[in-house]
């Protein structure tokens, strides 16, 4: 447990030294969301309809782009190998890294989303639901993405490869995440979507550190 908190603290502290890297994912989200009205036109009725989808796809892409940071830098300077060699439970250590990734790359998206939602003229209650789905959904993205990031560690063309592996796996999160707002707009309520997202979060949190740890061990064999 001590090692767990140590890794968490260390990752956050390292990130604070490279603030631009953390902010770049957020900035990317903002830019992607800005591109859509420019491409589609400024009709607020259309924008309001497609906003949940756009904001979710943006979050998906942004958290995918930041996955490289999860293990790559530690791998290059050798500290990841030391982590694999420690007697501590590797799954737990990996879990700490996933949590730090989410705190740095997922949570800011959740906080930025309402601002973007207002740019698309979403009503306040829709914005809150969108935030809620992102709050539950982005950790799933971090969990699944961590597996792909561990699998592609140090491979040529790693970045493109990650997106090939990870985007198909993100589909259910996208469907239910953006579906919640659609369903609310149709007057059906969004509670079922939250339950399903939670039901996806639980196994993701449970299995992904283990799968990541296996993948990392394989990478260092």
């Amino acid at each position: 447990m001590k090692a767990f908190t140590a890794i968490l603290k260390r990752d956050l502290r390292v990130a604070m030294h490279r603030k631009v890297e953390v902010l770049s994912g957020l900035f990317f989200y903002l830019v992607v969301a800005t591109l859509f009205p420019l491409a589609i036109g400024s009709d607020l009725d259309i924008l309001r309809r497609i906003a949940p989808g756009i904001l979710w796809v943006g979050a998906l892409l942004s958290s995918m782009l930041t996955l490289g940071r999860l293990f790559e830098a530690d791998w290059q300077d050798g500290s990841l190998e030391q982590l694999v060699l420690t007697p501590h439970n590797l799954s737990l250590l990996v879990f700490a890294k996933i949590i730090s990734h989410w705190t740095l790359c997922g949570l800011p998206l959740v906080i930025l989303a309402p601002v973007l939602g207002l740019m698309f003229d979403l009503p306040i209650e829709f914005v809150l639901v969108l935030m809620g789905t992102l709050l539950i959904g982005t950790p799933i993205l971090s969990c699944l993405g961590a597996i792909a990031s561990a699998l592609t560690l140090g491979l040529r063309g790693g970045g493109v490869l990650i997106s090939l592996l990870v985007l198909p796996l993100f589909v259910p999160v996208l469907v239910f995440g953006s579906g919640a707002v659609e369903s609310l707009a149709a007057g059906l309520g969004s509670q079922a979507y939250f339950s399903i997202l939670m039901a996806m979060l639980m196994p993701a949190v449970f299995f992904s550190p283990w799968a990541c740890a296996t993948a990392l061990r394989v990478a260092f064999e």
Binding site: T152, L161, L164, P168, P172, F176
Partner: protein, 273 residues
């Protein structure tokens, strides 16, 4: 790899590497592991391939004969429905092959059998081809029936994502040079994907459904003429045989490639020539 190549050929996996649990376990699993060493499997598959390919050809001819020649014209869809004899078996195979890959991956990760990784790798291209074929024939069926080449329907979409999963697997395994890491990384991806396939399927079903209901269901009597069913089952069997034959053929090539440094490969008649 090369250091102990010959040595390792005596045992197919770490499981019977000396520290195994007890004798009864060994006997029960004995049959299973008899062909786990690539050397033994290479010989076995060499004998099996002609049988599977022969059966595949015969079944394809029979299936097409029944499907295109004998089966009655559909009352609503006319002759156009006949693409079902390719479309449905191809969809089935694309899903079954992914499950088979997950199965081999599980074996590979738990028992560390060397053959499993090669089996998974050998199955992936066939699965991808069937997923593509299923989408392609689906589009050709959809145009006359629904008036559109592509609709964003649950099953079409999940089949498309299945194709992406196959391509992701192939991309990942071809990016890794070290064969051990390639097998294991591929196995992890195949397992994660296999957990996701049903979730993806249900999520897109929830999301949108236009596709006609399943043609064959286990719980109620099939809603189609017996001859149509027969043609479809024959074609499905033919695809099974084809997949097995092609996968075995590919596995043999992979075995030769991986074990090229060993004596048994170098003394093979086909390699010596």
């Amino acid at each position: 790899m090369e250091l102990s190549g010959v040595e390792r050929n005596k045992v197919g996996c770490q499981w019977d590497n000396g520290h195994s649990k007890n004798e009864t376990d060994k006997k029960m699993m004995g049959f299973f592991f008899k062909y786990a060493p690539p050397q033994a499997f290479y010989r076995l598959s060499g004998k099996l391939i002609p049988w599977f390919s022969g059966a595949g050809v015969l079944l394809t001819v029979a299936g097409l004969w029944v499907g295109l020649g004998m089966a009655p014209t559909d009352a609503q869809q006319g002759q156009g429905y006949r693409i079902i004899f390719l479309h449905v078996p191809a969809s089935w195979m694309s899903m079954i092959i992914f499950m088979a890959m997950a199965f081999w991956s599980f074996l590979g990760l738990t028992f560390k059998t060397r053959l499993s990784g090669m089996m998974t790798a050998a199955l992936a291209p066939t699965g991808a081809i069937f997923a593509f074929l299923s989408l392609w024939t689906g589009a050709m069926w959809g145009k006359p029936m629904w008036g559109a080449w592509w609709v964003w329907d649950a099953r079409l979409t999940s089949e498309l994502i299945l194709l992406f999963l196959y391509l992701g697997y192939i991309a990942l395994t071809s990016a890794i040079d070290n064969p051990i890491r390639r097998d294991k990384a591929g196995a992890i991806l195949a397992l994660v994907g296999s957990i996701n396939v049903p979730i993806i399927y249900f999520s897109v079903t929830w999301w949108n459904t236009l596709h006609q209901g399943a043609s064959i269901s286990m719980t109620k009597a099939p809603s189609m003429a017996h001859l149509m069913l027969l043609g479809m089952l024959l074609m499905a069997l033919a695809f099974w045989m084809y997949s097995i034959a092609v996968a075995l053929y590919r596995v043999r090539t992979l075995i030769l490639e991986r074990e090229s440094a060993t004596k048994w490969v170098q003394s093979l008649a086909e390699v010596v020539d």
